[in-house]
């Protein structure tokens, strides 16, 4: 009896081990990219290339852990960007990306398992972390580097009560209108530099090409559980233009009511395009069809010639079919969504902030490196992103749209404001604001009614 039990135990343990090996094999494939990079570059031997990293010091055997949302190829490119730094300083950098970072990070931190650093896609989360006293302020070197290399607009979103916690490591610009340079050339259309010019162009297009199926603008706000976010971006751009950056700040921080008359006017300005049946929705249908059209699908109508103008962020480029000719002379490109005068340049931005949960010297050295123009340029050369770092070299950006973005980031006249819905309490910024603007587009509510409902949902 006993021997049988023991033999069975042995068999199940052996079976278990087979399973372990099989599982470990699978997991190894997933992680291969990250660890492979580290092994590939110099194997930890300091070489002549390490000269630029001497100032950061050496920390042999130390490990820095980072959590983020940056997965897949993008995650591998990120890991590649700090591989040399890791080799030269001796720090082992463990990057743990996760697609449900936003909910996981709270569980980790509150359970006492905080990583050393995290990359936050929404600066609003920083506030909740500081509230719980979990984040550490930037180290002295990192702070100096951040203040030297970033504009005040960008830094302010990593600040809580005057203390700098976050560094913006990558950014996107949202105030863009996508158009087809080849079609514009054929028709002799000029890129508008003021709001009025843009509306005149819209009327011109409508007169030249308008029909039941072809319209000047196309738009879509469907995005699964996040339906409505593209409409909030559109409206935020309008607030920056109609009411200006100061009112925008007051609106985002709820110092003025959500349905302040200036804000209602801004939404109505968005409506002057999105709810005008002569202007929308090229290639798809009427104004109401915006509510059920996936945002990126709408933009593809520009390529088909069914619409001429599509307001979307710089990252729309990633949604274009492979092989699309993107550029100032290509089939599709973007221009800056103009303000009332050509001198004003309000810019709606979004970005990822790196913030530390630890103040160990190795973590502080890493922060300082991430705030440097050297890192920004190394990362930009790998491709696919731009840094708001003022030392970033536009020529290193991997595409024309990214170069256009970085030019705007570095434009002295531009006033950058972070996407407001990411800064508001999440039941507004990821809830009622999305839903009510969807209802508004759907024609169920007037601008006033929709904004009043958001106001009443503010916690």
């Amino acid at each position: 009896m006993t021997t049988i039990t023991m033999r069975r135990a042995g068999a199940s343990i052996a079976g278990g081990l087979v399973a372990v090996l099989a599982l470990a094999g699978c997991a190894g494939d997933d992680l291969g990219g990250g660890s492979g990079d580290k092994g590939g570059t110099g194997g930890g031997e300091p070489s002549a290339d390490c000269a630029p990293y001497e100032d950061y010091g050496t920390f042999d055997g130390e490990t820095v852990t980072i959590s983020s949302t940056i997965e897949g190829t993008e995650g591998e490119m990120l890991e590649q960007s700090w591989a040399d730094f890791a080799n030269c300083t001796g720090i082992t950098i463990e990057h743990n990306p996760s697609n449900d970072f936003e909910s996981q990070i709270f569980v980790q931190v509150e359970g006492g398992n905080a990583p050393d650093l995290a990359i936050f896609p929404q600066p609003g989360l920083l506030g909740r972390m500081v509230e719980g006293d979990y984040l550490k302020p930037l180290g002295d070197d990192a702070l100096a580097a951040a203040q030297a290399n970033y504009g005040e607009d960008w830094l302010s979103y990593g600040q809580i009560d005057g203390t700098q916690y976050g560094i913006p490591i990558q950014g996107s610009a949202k105030s863009f209108v996508w158009y087809s340079p080849s079609v514009f050339e054929e028709n002799g259309y000029e890129i508008p530099t003021t709001w009025d010019e843009m509306m005149a162009l819209t009327d011109q297009i409508s007169a030249d090409h308008g029909s039941d199926s072809v319209k000047p603008w196309c738009s879509g706000i469907e995005s699964g559980g996040a339906t409505g976010w593209p409409a909030t971006d559109f409206m935020e751009d309008m607030v920056l233009r109609e009411a200006g950056p100061d009112v925008y700040d007051q609106w985002v921080s709820h110092e003025i009511p959500f349905d302040d008359p200036q804000i209602v006017a801004s939404l109505e300005r968005a409506g002057s395009i999105l709810q005008n049946e002569d202007y929308v929705n090229g290639g798809i249908g009427d104004s109401r069809s915006i509510a059920t059209t996936p945002w990126a699908d709408a933009g593809l109508q520009v390529l088909d010639g069914n619409c001429f103008l599509f307001r979307a962020a710089s990252f729309f480029e990633a949604q274009l079919p492979e092989g699309t000719n993107v550029g100032p002379d290509g089939d599709i490109f973007a221009f800056y969504l103009p303000a009332d005068t050509a001198d004003e340049k309000p810019l709606l931005i979004a970005g990822d902030y790196l913030a530390p949960f630890s103040d160990s010297p190795a973590v502080q050295a890493f922060e300082a490196y991430m705030a440097s123009p050297e890192w920004a340029n190394t990362r930009m050369e790998i491709g696919g992103m731009v840094s708001p770092n003022s030392g970033a070299d536009a020529t290193k950006a991997s595409s024309d749209v990214l170069r256009l973005t970085i030019d705007l980031f570095q434009d002295e006249d531009a006033t950058a404001r972070f996407d407001g819905s990411d800064l508001m309490p999440s039941q507004v910024g990821a809830g009622s604001f999305w839903s009510e603007l969807t209802n508004w587009i759907d024609g169920q509510e007037s601008a006033e009614e929709a904004l009043a409902k958001v106001e009443s949902s503010w916690p």
Partner: protein, 324 residues
């Protein structure tokens, strides 16, 4: 140690090692208990083999249930007691979700069961029975999210001047009618979402009911035929009463599955256009808005709605066993 705590391979190995260690400990314990003789042995054996399961149930089911109820009376960060505020909110602003969920719970079990029943009666003993059964059963293999995406394409709307890319609207416009906004116009959009769930669940109803129909004793059927019963009478007076226990199980099982549904609304309409349902709203409050209070209150309401159905279901299953 860093390898085990911070790398995914390490964590995986650690987890499996821990699992094996527990397993080995249990087996050793069982061996030890095996040596004990006398009346104590039965109790100890039950404790060794049943204990881990009971412990897991307590940790994984009972404790979370009690904690969720507790949290539903607390504020969003579970710091302060707020009484029935969360429930008050629910019955003030969550009525849309409550009403829609009610519609789902009534229509999905009814629709799936009726379709499943009629289908299984029609194909019973026909030549194509196996093929026909597989066809209706196939959607069961598709996840709710997958089904949502498929049907979103079927319902896709384009303006009247455009080429329709959705199957249904392509048919409708071919017949000369205006295209329909299936997912946008309340209240019918909820019904169109319900169709998706019926499409998934009808196969389940059909399989269970078909088996039950085949189990109806032939002597009763023959006796009825001899008495001159026509097909309809045979169906209503013989088949239905004979398969009643299976019908109840099918209805209640689908009913429970329906109360939990949130994937379909999430993928197809994003719960916009007045299609919100309870489970989806619970998800939003708990995970998107980070408000544990209202989220837990919704979970408790869903739980309370499900409990009577579960009790009825379990009692009916026990009765079925007793009959057999």
């Amino acid at each position: 140690m860093g390898f085990f705590l911070y790398s995914k391979n390490g964590q995986l190995i650690l987890a499996v090692l821990a699992f094996l260690a527990v397993l080995a400990a249990l087996l050793l314990l069982a061996t030890a208990v095996d040596r004990v003789r006398g009346r104590k042995q039965t109790f100890l054996m039950a404790a060794v083999f049943g204990g881990p399961a009971l412990l897991l149930l307590a940790v994984g089911l009972i404790y979370p249930a009690i904690r969720t109820m507790w949290m539903s009376f607390m504020d969003k960060r579970s710091d302060e007691f707020v009484g029935f505020d969360n429930y008050a909110y629910l019955f003030h602003d969550g009525l849309q979700a409550l009403g829609n969920s009610l519609l789902w719970v009534v229509l999905v079990p009814l629709g799936s069961t009726v379709i499943g029943l009629v289908y299984s009666v029609l194909i019973d003993k026909s030549r194509f029975e196996k093929v026909a059964k597989s066809l209706l059963f196939l959607p069961m293999a598709i996840s709710f999210v997958g089904a949502g995406i498929i049907w979103k394409f079927v319902y896709e709307y384009r303006g009247a001047a455009q080429d329709q890319i959705g199957l249904l609207n392509a048919l409708i416009t071919q017949l000369g009618f205006e295209p329909v906004r299936f997912l946008q116009d309340a209240p019918w959009n909820t019904v169109f979402l319900i169709v998706v769930m019926v499409w998934i669940q009808a196969g389940f109803a059909m399989v269970v009911l078909s088996a039950a129909i085949k189990a109806v004793p032939t002597d009763i059927i023959e006796a009825a035929k001899l008495d001159g019963a026509n097909a309809w009478q045979l169906f209503t007076r013989i088949t239905i009463p004979s398969i009643r226990p299976s019908l109840v199980v099918v209805l209640t099982t689908i009913c429970i599955a329906t109360l939990k549904v949130f994937d379909i609304t999430q993928t197809m309409t994003g719960a916009e256009f007045k299609t919100q349902v309870l489970a989806n709203e619970m998800y939003d409050w708990s995970f998107t808005y980070g408000d544990n209070g209202i989220g837990s209150a919704m979970a408790v309401v869903i739980f309370l709605l499900v409990v009577p159905v579960v009790i009825y279901n379990v009692r009916q299953m026990n009765k079925n066993k007793a009959v057999r």
